[in-house]
Amino acid sequence: MEAEAAPTPAPGGGCSVSAEEIEKWMEEAMQMAKEALESIEVPVGCLMVYNNEVVGKGRNEVNQTKNATRHAEMVAIDQALDWCRRSGRSPSSVFEHTALYVTVEPCIMCAAALRLMKIPLVVYGCQNERFGGCGSVLNIASADLPNTGRPFQCIPGYRAEEAVEMLKTFYKQENPNAPKSKVRKKECQRS
């Protein structure tokens, strides 16, 4: 509903998307987030779309890899790089015309990574109040950082309530993979 507003053309004309495309790809990202939730992973799903083709998909792999940087976006970027290698295209020519569809606002790390990849457009669902890099904590997406890739355009708020509900459900059951906070540890000891 909220994302009906027509996206303004990306700076430099790198990428623009229609409301139909947003609906289609975000539905797929939502399905991935639901699957993540069912496998007790942080419910974030994302897709990278180039020329109407999905070139990368991702969900959180932190626990599986013991690498806390393996967020959905980082996994999808690596897949898209693989796609470039297999199809013999240069990553810069692909990424500069690729849109990311993700259910939750990218964190500060992922926002900086998206800048470094020069992705022009990110469509996302709900805000990321804890780590958000597109305005919630910092605005890496639009910051003036001349040595850190390029700023990117955001279309926020697409099916945000649904995405928030999934996060709430996940955090209610508590993230079994995250280190316990001291407060929680003490509560556990007491009980």
């Binding site: 013991k66 806390a68 990553p91 500060i108 992922c110 900086a112 470094l116 780590f131 904590v137």
Partner: protein, 355 residues
């Protein structure tokens, strides 16, 4: 058993440089939070001379009851007059002023009968520090405007004076940064960006990972920090990337059982979170040495990885641990860590920034 078995060499083998024991010209200085680093901000307040000194304690009590200044508890209420030519000796802070404040009379500022203004002179405007000083530098600046209380953080004061680390610790720090510099040089030799990093467990002094920037057009995100975080994961039996094309990048396999014993005796134990292997959550409790200040991606990766301390040699133009952001010291993120800059600064300044 491990397809990357060839990489499982100890980090501290003969190819790495020996620590240089000669005295050197560098100092590790803390990168403080915005609150600790900012200049003193002033707000306008009304004060009045105390013409009859014997009324001081009564006036103090009555004025404080009417205008308690809950957000400026660092301000002392009474100061000695600074103008020796004035007849009065003391001045009392009455209340904060509106931004476009003008002259006010005692009657306008102090409701009667709650305050009996006997003994007070004509109110005047004075700039006072808006928030409590956190460092000695801020305190010196603040009290030049109005007397201010200061609860000194001895740790920060010692850190700012460069007295936080013993000579022995500085030798160790230099050794680790020399490894990072060496890694950066290895990268440069291979045509990669000259950024090097090392992860150390400070409890044992063990080097857990040595990495350099491996980014290329094929994978532009393999900054030295990201490489090191993945090498630590490889030391814990997981990880994502294949660094065989970059033989200088190496890790020490985490020794689970010794790890448990070592961890169980150290005082850090209470703060460490172990997973089912008895290893800490990713980089919890570890130090990271890096030649130049990390970018926003790498700095936030350190937050996610729960790094304990970061030492960098020289700043980077878009750096996120002091230059453009202070991602390590934000109350709104779920992990904070200490950052020091200046270790082997002269050498590191010759190397590439993290961008």
């Amino acid at each position: 058993m491990d397809p990357l078995g060839g990489m499982e060499q100890q980090c501290e083998d003969e190819k790495a440089p020996r620590p240089n024991r000669e005295p050197t010209l560098w100092q590790a200085l803390p990168v403080l939070s915005e609150q600790q680093s900012r200049d003193v901000e002033l707000v306008l307040a009304y004060a009045a001379p105390i013409l009859d000194k014997r009324q001081t304690s009564r006036l103090l009590k009555e004025v404080s009851a009417v205008h308690p200044l809950p957000d400026q508890t660092h301000l002392k209420r009474v100061r000695p007059s600074r103008d020796a030519s004035r007849p009065h000796l003391l001045e009392i802070l009455l209340c904060l002023a509106e931004p476009a404040a003008g002259k006010r009379s005692l009657a306008e500022l102090l409701p009667q009968p709650a305050v009996d203004p006997r003994g007070l002179g004509q109110p005047f405007l004075v700039p006072v520090p808006a928030w409590p000083p956190l460092t000695r530098g801020q305190f010196e600046e603040a009290r030049a405007h109005w007397p201010t209380s200061f609860h000194e953080d001895k740790h920060v004061t010692r850190a700012l004076a460069g007295r936080l680390f013993s000579a022995q610790e500085q030798v160790e720090m230099q050794g680790h940064m020399e490894r990072a510099v060496w890694m950066a040089q290895q990268a440069a030799t291979g045509g990669l960006r000259a950024v090097g990093a090392v992860v150390v467990d400070p409890a044992s002094g063990q080097v857990l990972a040595m990495g350099h920037d491996c980014s290329s057009s094929a994978n532009p995100l393999l900054h030295a920090t990201m490489v090191c975080i993945d090498l630590v994961a490889q030391g814990q039996g997981q990880g994502t990337y294949d660094f065989r094309p970059h033989p200088a990048c190496s890790f020490a396999p985490a020794s689970t059982h010794q790890g448990i014993q070592a961890v169980s005796v150290r005082t850090l134990n209470e703060d460490m979170d172990m997973d089912e292997d008895g290893l800490p959550y990713v980089c919890t409790g570890y130090d990271l040495y890096i030649t130049r200040e990390p970018c926003a991606m790498c700095a936030m990766a350190m937050v996610h990885s729960r790094v304990q301390r970061v030492f960098y040699g020289a700043p980077s133009p878009d750096g996120a641990l002091g230059t453009r952001f202070r991602i390590h010291a934000r109350p709104d993120l779920n992990h904070r860590f200490q950052v020091f800059h200046g270790v082997l600064e002269a050498q590191c300044r010759q190397l590439d920034p993290d961008t």
